[in-house]
Structure formats: structure tokens, C-alpha cells
């Protein structure tokens, strides 16, 4: 089980990144791709103990990524206001649309999808860590492991 989890986890992450980045061309989008990416980290944390999972993405990094996701979404909307359109506008604000079907089409859709994917992945990881960890009493002699 441990060998299988160690072997399969990079492929799951690659599939999750593929679903996120191709959000505007094929079914998927930000939410499902983020869930797939978060599931790979949960798989590593279940099959090994929790310390190996925390070494992949630590708590501090996960909380930073999650706040960065929401901030990126808001700043993209504000960038549309700076370019002269409404809040969170796409074509009226001058984002380059490109050819439909290309990889770098659809100006603001691609950026918003990536930020949502990062946010959902770090959400699932943080939820799993917080619910599974045993409590740590501060300063007492009885100190259970993480």
C-alpha cells in the first residue's frame, strides 16, 4: 500500500493540474481539479503517518496558499477596474481573448480558474490536517503525538 501510494501520487497531481489548466476547453474547471489535487496529498498522509504528509506541504504553506487564492481572485477583479471596465469584466476591460480553442485564450477565465484551483486544494488539505490531529495540551506533561 505504501509503495503504491508513493508511486501513484505524482500522477494524481499531474491529472489534477491538467483538469485545472484545461478548464475552459474541456469539462472540469477549478473546483474539481482542486479536489483531485487535494486528494493526492490526503492519500500520502493516510498511507504514511502524518509527518510525511506535513513534509510535502506544511501548515504555514497551506494557509498562505489559501489566502493567496482569495486575494488573487479579488485583485483580478480590481485589475479589470483599472483597465477601464466594470468589476470582474473580461472583454470590456481589455483582456486578450485570442483564438477560441487555443491554450492561452479567454483572458480572465484562465487566471480565475487557476486561483480557484489553488484555493480548493489547500482547503481540502487544511481540513484534513485539522480534523485528524490529536489535541496538544500546552505545558502539560501528557503530550500526545501529532
Amino acid at each position: 500500500m505504501r509503495i503504491t501510494a508513493r508511486l501513484v501520487a505524482p500522477f494524481i497531481q499531474l491529472y489534477g493540474i491538467y483538469v485545472i489548466v484545461n478548464g475552459h476547453l474541456s469539462p472540469g474547471g477549478g473546483f474539481s481539479g482542486g479536489a483531485i489535487f487535494g486528494s493526492s496529498l490526503v492519500l500520502v498522509a493516510i498511507s504514511f503517518n502524518l509527518e510525511a504528509g506535513a513534509k510535502q506541504i506544511s501548515h504555514h504553506t497551506a494557509s498562505l496558499l489559501e489566502s493567496g487564492g482569495v486575494l488573487g481572485f479579488t485583485l483580478t477583479g480590481l485589475a479589470a477596474v483599472f483597465f477601464g471596465g466594470n468589476y470582474l469584466a473580461n472583454r470590456a476591460a481589455g483582456f486578450p481573448l485570442g483564438q477560441a480553442g487555443e491554450f492561452f485564450s479567454a483572458g480572465a477565465i484562465w487566471i480565475i480558474t487557476i486561483f480557484i484551483g489553488i484555493k480548493v486544494a489547500s482547503t481540502i488539505t487544511t481540513l484534513f490536517y485539522n480534523i485528524i490531529e490529536k489535541e496538544q495540551t500546552v505545558g502539560a506533561t501528557k503530550r500526545t503525538d501529532k
Binding site: S26, P27, F31, L127, N130, I131
Partner: protein, 122 residues
Amino acid sequence: MELLSGLINNYYYFVAIILFVIGTHTMLTHSNMIKKVIAMNIMDASVFLLFVAIGYVHGGRPPIIAGNEEVLYVNPLPGALILTGIVVAVSVTAYALSLIVKIHRTYGTVDCDEICKIRGDE
């Protein structure tokens, strides 16, 4: 009867109602708290099924445009609205489970009747 023929045509909505009633009965009857959270998830799933089944068109394709032909597409709007609903359901489930963990640390059990007995004796 008209009732039976209408039900047999719209059987997706009827299954959604049956799922909702199953979830309600489980939530009212069983006293284990984790079963109540699972029943809430079943009720959420039934509402999502009802909404997405409204947007189906006979002979339609998934709403991903490929080529320039004139084909019939399925209504994309209910599915796009339900994505937000699914995320809200996941958030509520996560918060309910964290509250159950906290209750288990305090009382030592996750059974509603036993917690009432413990609190009634104090």
C-alpha cells in the same frame, strides 16, 4: 390515472423526493450524530438531483462547443448554479464534523441520548 402517468414521465423528480424523505426519516429517528450528518448529505444530494434534472433536453449534447454545426445543447444554467451549492454543502459538512470532534472530546460519546442523560444528571 393522471397522477401515475405524470409520475412515470417525470421519474427523476420522484426519485429526488424519495431520497429527501429517506434523509429526513434518518435524521429524525437515529440518535448517533454522525448518522445525522450523513442524512444531511443525502438530502443535499436529492436537491441537487432535482435541480440538474430540470435542465435536460431530449437528444441534447454536453454544452461544450466543438465545431460549427447546429446541434442541440443541454441547458447549462442549472448545472452552473449547483456548483456553488455543492461547495456550500461541503463547507457545512466540514464544520458540523469539527463540532462533533469537539463534543466527543468533552463528553466522550457521540450519542444524543447519552449526552442528554449526562447533562440531566449535573
